[in-house]
């Protein structure tokens, strides 16, 4: 009579460690997917490196579990064909009687629990739960792992159905382990035989009384060591190696059967991001086209006005006077007073009036509208009267400029460089005769004085109004 008896050999114990590890890893990585919105699941997923990492870990342990299943099948075969063990795990009528006994015991109609053999009916329930569960998980797992192949042969609905099976069976297995395995193996009596390989005689007497009796009577099965079993092993081991190789090949296929999805997702839309629509008015600085003024074509229909009742008001309301008059007289032009206006107007000749010339060119900060321009033109053409019924301004007879007035005045400041005392570039603009050196009477554009001034940028630059007067004077023959 020994203190303890051998219950599991090294192979059994290694299988258990593989099962324990794979089952726990699969349960953790699977349940966090089932309950992916739970806080704890999120933390675990994060800890394991994200959901894709969790799925990879899950698949790695699924593969380990399937390899363990192949090993288990080989071990069963070894027991059956080489050792020729009697059936130990398959349920028998004795198990049904034992289960019925247990129920009567619970009900108080039996004084003691049933006496049982090498594996109790409770252990057999757990074993077949594991077999069934593993089968469901492998089949449903295959469908989920290979949805394209699945939907080639079966309705697409099998894929989500497989997910329900996989997920439901997992929950069932985990809860069964927590309730059934925990109670029977860890709570009722802390059973370490699966790790040590041995069970005490006392525990054997409680849980496997019939087996203990057989062992002590010498009628229990002992693995044969004779030549016949060795011969059988020599046939079985190569055969099972071949079968295992085929099964492992099957697992390899299972794992690599299909590439379900592409690795990177295409952009959902191919479209030019920047494709501006041709409109204006969107920016602070709007592009506008330059307005061109159509001459004095409307002058005949425009009512005649005079400075004091019409023209003065135009310059004021159009705010010409903001720059040219009042507090400022930009460019020496004053449009607030009649006398000031006469400096840029040639009575009787709108086309020779700098005011008109400049306005018709456009691009002035303030541009009169067509109607106003026509009014001013008509006013000038009629002699630029100060008041209706008045007389054309004196001092500008006929409106034609002469050397004495105003040209010599305009050119007075030029004399500081181009004077009689120090004629720069040999030019003296203080006397009419000398000035004719750069003037071609009748042709402003052939007159060097005009051309240089019109080009702009000369150190002593005439204002545009003065330039217009100069041009008019030359064109009139430079009298």
């Amino acid at each position: 009579m020994a203190d303890r008896y051998r219950r599991f050999n090294l192979s059994d114990r290694l299988e258990h460690v593989a099962q324990l590890t794979a089952f726990t890893a699969l349960a953790v990585t699977g349940l966090v997917q089932r309950y992916s919105e739970a806080w704890l699941s999120r933390r675990l997923i994060d800890l394991l490196g994200g959901i894709e990492a969790v799925r990879i870990i899950h698949r790695i342990f699924a593969t380990i579990l399937m390899v363990a299943v192949v090993y288990h099948l080989g071990a069963i075969g070894y027991r059956k064909f080489v050792q020729r063990r009697p059936r130990e795990m398959l349920p028998t009528s004795a198990d049904i009687r034992a289960a019925a006994h247990s129920m009567r015991y619970l009900a108080g109609r039996e004084a003691a629990p049933p006496l049982q053999g090498r594996f109790t009916w409770e252990e057999k329930v757990e074993y077949f739960a594991l077999v069934w569960g593993t089968f469901v998980m492998i089949v449903s797992g295959f469908l989920l792992w290979n949805p394209i192949a699945t939907s080639r042969l079966l309705p697409g609905q099998f894929v989500p159905a497989a997910k329900v099976f996989h997920s439901g069976e997992a929950l069932l297995a985990v809860l069964a382990v927590i309730v059934w395995h925990m109670y029977h193996v860890h709570i009722r009596r802390f059973n370490t035989s699966m790790f040590t390989g041995y069970m005490s005689r006392r525990d054997m007497a409680h849980e496997h009384a019939l087996e203990l009796e057989a062992i002590e009577a010498g009628t229990a099965f002992t693995p044969p060591t004779d030549d016949a079993s060795r011969r059988r092993a020599k046939i079985y081991l190569p055969a099972i190696t071949g079968v295992a190789a085929i099964l492992l090949g099957g697992i390899y296929l299972f794992v690599t059967f299909e590439n379900t999805a592409i690795a990177t997702i295409d952009p959902p839309e191919q479209v030019a991001i920047y494709a501006p629509v041709e409109t204006t008015g969107t920016t602070g600085a709007t592009v506008v086209t330059t307005t061109t003024l159509p001459g004095a074509t409307t002058s005949t229909t425009t009512p005649l006005g005079a400075w004091e009742d019409t023209i003065e008001a135009i310059f004021r309301t159009q705010r010409c006077t903001d720059c040219h008059g009042n507090t400022m007289a930009l460019g020496g032009v004053d449009l607030a007073t009649y006398a000031g206006v006469l400096a840029v107007v040639t009575p009787g000749d709108p086309d020779r009036s700098p005011l008109i010339v400049l306005q018709e060119k456009g691009a002035h900060p303030t541009v009169l509208d067509d109607g106003q321009l026509a009014q001013v033109r008509a006013w000038i053409a009629a002699g630029a009267l100060e008041a209706l019924g008045g007389t054309p301004p004196t001092g500008v007879p006929g409106g034609a400029p002469g050397w004495e007035d105003p040209i010599s005045g305009l050119l007075a400041s030029c004399g500081s460089c181009h004077g009689a005392a120090n004629p720069a570039a040999g030019l003296d603009l203080t006397s009419y005769e000398a000035a004719l050196a750069v003037i071609t009477p009748g042709d402003p554009d052939a007159s060097r004085l005009y051309v240089v001034q019109a080009a702009g940028g000369h150190p002593g630059q005439l204002s545009e109004a003065d330039l217009a007067v100069l041009r008019e004077w030359i064109a009139a023959g430079a009298p």
Binding site: E37, I45, I51, E52, Y105, L106, G108, A111, P113, P147, I148, S151, R152, P155, G156, Q157, F158, P160, A161, V164, G168, E169, L171, L172, L175, A176, V179, H184, R188, A261, I262, I265, P267, P268, E269, V271, I273, Y274, A275, P276, V277, T279, T282, T283, G284, A285, T286, V287, V288, T289, T290, T291, D322, C323, T327, A363, H364, P365, V367, D369
Partner: protein
């Protein structure tokens, strides 16, 4: 209430700033005036003074690029603008103007001018400027894309306006630069409804944000986008108005695609995933009802949509996705039955096991007591 208070404060802030600017101008006038006493009268440097010239039509100048910069200030448009009610001096924005005559304008082209002047907006609109600081347009601008939108591109300058949310005005504003996308949107189920006066449908800013508009090609946006859609599509009252189911987001995250995307969004928002979000299947700006034969999710088109990611998918494959349906006796019977199977099997099995071990443990204890009593 809060928005209103902000608005009022903004108004006050403008007044305060305006007074400050006027005071500064006054100091300037006094000091320069005394320094150059022979000058007749120092110009009164307020908006009236500016408008003396700039209210005139046709004022313009040509920039070195050949573009014409309009210098006329449209008083009526300004008065009708969001700034109209406030007496904002010109120089509050035109900070470069220190008097008349002006310094020569030193800008190469219109865009340079716009970008330069746009800096002024942040002086008053701090929150908006802060919000826009890191947006996709600012990022593009920083890399030298001058066309990238700045404040006045959307709001205009002198006739500044605030586009009203959920109106075609918003989409049209964005469409000025994003013309192709605008065309797609116009033809979408949302865009068409918007054009008929519907104000429930999203316009550009409802999905992309306003001043903090992000880059839609970023992973963050991609991963977050289902929650943008869910913002409306989970609203049962709103969806009922159009006969659209409100459980589309829940059914999406109940499946691998949505579960993965939601987890990525929560745990690794910058990471790319190969799982689709709403717009990957339904379309982006051209999104259509699944009942529309042009839709990517119309029943005849859906296989092609699946095949974009699952190239080997065959005719049964799309039905592996339950089409946003919760399994029922009418839809996905097999899935529904499987669900019920475990709803029954799990409680019965685990309940049985639990009952057995609990009773057994009580019974064992009683046995031990009886044994101890002898």
């Amino acid at each position: 209430m809060k928005a209103q208070r902000t608005h009022v404060w903004r108004g006050w802030r403008l007044v305060v700033l305006g007074c400050g600017a006027a005071a500064a101008a006054l100091v300037l006038v006094v000091t320069t005036g005394s320094a150059s006493a022979q000058e007749e009268q120092a110009p009164q440097f307020d908006s009236e003074y500016c408008l003396g010239c700039h209210a005139n039509p046709g004022m313009q100048t040509t920039l070195p690029s050949g573009e014409v910069l309009d210098l006329t200030f449209d008083v009526a448009a300004h008065e009708a603008s969001v700034h109209g009610p406030y007496d904002i001096p010109c120089v509050l924005c035109h900070t470069d103007v220190t008097g008349f005559p002006h310094e020569p304008l030193d800008v190469a082209d219109l865009r340079v001018w716009t970008l330069e002047r746009n800096q002024s907006c942040a002086n008053c609109h701090e929150d908006e400027a802060e919000s826009a600081r890191d947006n996709v347009h600012a990022a593009a601008l920083a890399t030298g894309v001058r066309e990238a939108a700045v404040c006045t591109d959307c709001h205009d300058a002198h006739n500044a306006r605030k586009p009203v949310a959920h109106t075609p005005e918003v989409a049209e504003t964005c469409g000025e630069c994003h013309g192709e996308i605008y065309q797609l949107y116009e033809g979408s189920v949302h865009g068409e409804a918007l054009a008929t006066g519907n104000r429930d449908v999203p316009t550009c800013t409802d999905c992309h944000g306003v001043h903090d508009v992000g880059g839609p090609s970023q992973s963050e946006f991609h991963l977050f986008s289902p929650q943008i859609c869910a913002g409306c599509h989970q609203d049962k009252e709103l969806m009922d108005r159009y006969g659209v189911r409100a459980d589309t987001f829940d059914t999406y995250i109940a499946d691998f695609h949505g579960e993965t995307v939601v987890l990525f969004e929560a745990l690794a928002p910058g990471q790319e995933t190969n799982k689709p979000v709403c717009i990957d299947c339904h379309g982006v700006h051209n999104i259509q009802s699944a009942d529309n034969p042009d839709s990517q999710t119309f029943k005849d088109n859906i296989l092609g949509t699946c095949q974009r990611c699952h190239p080997d998918a065959s005719i049964n494959f799309p039905s592996a996705w339950l089409g946003h349906y919760t399994p029922s006796a009418d839809n996905a019977l097999l899935v529904w039955l499987a669900g019920w199977f475990y709803k029954i099997v799990i409680p019965v099995t685990i309940g049985g096991m639990l009952g057995y071990v609990v009773l057994l443990s009580f019974r064992s204890r009683r046995s031990r007591k009886e044994a101890a009593r002898g």
